[in-house]
Symmetry: C2
Subunit: 359 residues, 2 copies
């Protein structure tokens, strides 16, 4: 697939815990390192006053802001002129099929972002539920993609297969691997392990692998995410969320313990001074900002989510991922893979949503 | 409840990756620090030859050993004279209600241990499925108890409630807290979050809390396990297993990264020498052997599981937990709490197992 020559990113400048102070700093850094990028900056008139003269930027005003604790209903029904919503709207094709942007980035609240994206953009044919993919560091020095981390609880085997197909497209767009390996998150490697749904999903994934549609590795366990056993790990949103929060919890506990040990007394504080450069490098490697940027997959538009607490580095990372995804035509890739899969494997279509495939 | 005056622990001396070389060393350490304990050492004649003269020990011979990779069926049906099975049998009451031991410890394979325990001991009245509870370190310096980490996938709300009741008994026996706080592992704090089963479980737990049967805190997230937000965290076996393996994966990745950074070049190696005592203390605090010793709950006997790769320290820890549990009458506590709960809350009984409660 030929990459896009010019990549336009719509930015919700008001989202996140810090709003424009972070997002605009990130935009400036992003523009400096991405010569073929253009930005559509969405926010209130006051917030965007400083950017009027920026190169390769277009300002689109919005009068409202979705707060981090706004319920989904408020974002969806009441704040119809929010920066989040207007930013997403830039991805919606007009009558001639043209869009104002190729991807959108927001650090706004996840539930609202998913709901508004779904409402404005709709899901792709053959996709029942959009999913959120995160990127977690592994000991091979890469990033394991994991989905779903969104709110898709009670997933069926078909949903898990759709996640595998969309996730494969994501890895191919971000890492250039055309046939990334896919692991199914389970409680053991053997195919007899897991819940009924997981066993059915394993069966579906094996059928797809036999048909050459997917590079299915088999079952993986929680620790395989961080070993990098597979490029992609698929799970339902409940399990994925628990795994993500658990790993944040362990990392945070270990950070606390290291700090406690190095500040225990005068001697350990002196050791800390000597070890500081090394500890700082370690800290930089486990810095969650490096892994910022979840992808909302399965929508008719590319929406990326930055961590709500992102600083400029974290937000810029999310913008870079959105840029890579748009440049490498992630949307077309997802669409193509889903279509091919559903043509070859009608069983992959969820029972509750009749799927239209090209004749 | 008055503590036991004499605690008898049955030890499967052949289990685990290292067998008697580790278990017997652990037994020696354990006896040295537990003056009121007696051991029933179960193993082959050859393996137990060295212990013939040990004080406060009784040897019971077994002719077979369950291998770490033996399928459950082999442990259950073929190796009828295995050290694992004979050790568990020490917990089975005779016609007069007397047992040969108060708790049993094995580092043998988990699936086999659960299956054989269940077969030999049976489950307590009112318990549909035995569960495995683990103890994970938290930033308050304590150990959060988490269950189920066993093979109970597809749990119902009633099962989750049973886990909460059994887990509360475990915390009360090990930590002396009579009304430990209970968290329901979920993907958000709000009661509308989660799968249907989780929402029903939340409802049941709230009813139990209102009736004064349980100290229900509400929903918790994955990171709360390591924050120590609640004394106990309840989840189904699938989610629990993923959370446990994920945390092992993160801890292992962070250990690898620290090592990589400190061995990067001559300067960092010198820093490592200075920081070594601090790093070693840190390492000791995150050492998984300190958290060894899962409890199999819901059986008519106390069975504790040591990590398969346990060394003497890890195995001794598991023995100590079994000792604490037996001494503080964990079995009676579980039994009492389940009975009281089921009398007050008939809805807590799983539909698929009619429950007998005392009249």
């Amino acid at each position: 697939m030929k990459p896009l020559e010019r990549v336009r990113i719509a930015v919700d400048c008001m989202g996140g815990d810090h709003g424009p102070s972070v997002t605009l700093a990130a935009c400036r850094d992003f523009l400096a390192t991405h010569a073929d990028a253009e930005l559509v900056l969405v926010g209130t008139e006051q917030a965007l006053a400083p950017v009027a003269q920026w190169d390769r930027c277009r300002v689109v005003l919005a009068t409202e802001v979705v707060a981090m604790d706004d319920p989904v209903e408020v974002a969806l029904r009441r704040k119809r002129d929010s920066s989040m919503r207007v930013a997403i709207q830039q991805l919606k094709p007009d009558a001639a099929g043209a869009t104002q942007a190729d991807a959108c980035v927001s650090a706004g609240n996840t539930g609202a972002l998913m709901a508004v994206s779904r409402y404005i953009l709709k899901t792709l044919d053959g996709i029942d539920r959009p999913a959120i993919a995160a990127m977690l560091p592994n000991s091979r020095g890469g990033l394991t993609k994991v989905l779903d981390l969104g709110a898709n609880v009670d997933c069926s085997a078909q949903h898990l297969l759709q996640f595998a197909v969309m996730g494969s497209a994501l890895v191919s767009a971000l890492d250039g691997k055309e046939q990334p390996t896919v692991g199914l998150l389970n409680i053991g490697e053997e195919i007899i392990k897991g819940s009924e749904t997981i066993k059915q999903a394993g069966e579906l994934l094996r059928q797809c692998a036999a048909a050459g549609l997917i590079n299915f590795y088999g079952n993986v366990e929680g620790n395989d995410i961080f070993k990098g056993t597979t490029d992609l790990v698929v799970c339902d949103g409940f399990v994925g969320n628990v795994a993500l929060k658990t790993s944040e919890g362990v990392a945070s506990l270990m950070g606390t313990l290291i700090k406690e040990e190095f500040t225990r007394n005068l001697w350990t504080r002196m050791a800390a001074v000597v070890a500081m450069p090394v500890l700082n490098r370690f800290k930089a490697r486990v810095d969650h900002r490096r892994y910022s940027g979840g992808a909302l997959l399965g929508l008719r538009g590319l929406v990326f989510k930055a961590h709500g607490s992102s600083d400029a580095l974290g937000f810029e990372r999310a913008m870079s991922r959105a840029y890579d995804a748009a440049r490498n035509r992630l949307l077309d890739r997802v669409h193509e893979r889903i279509e091919v899969t559903l043509q070859a494997m009608p069983a992959a279509a969820p029972a509750d949503s009749p799927v239209k495939t090209a004749a």
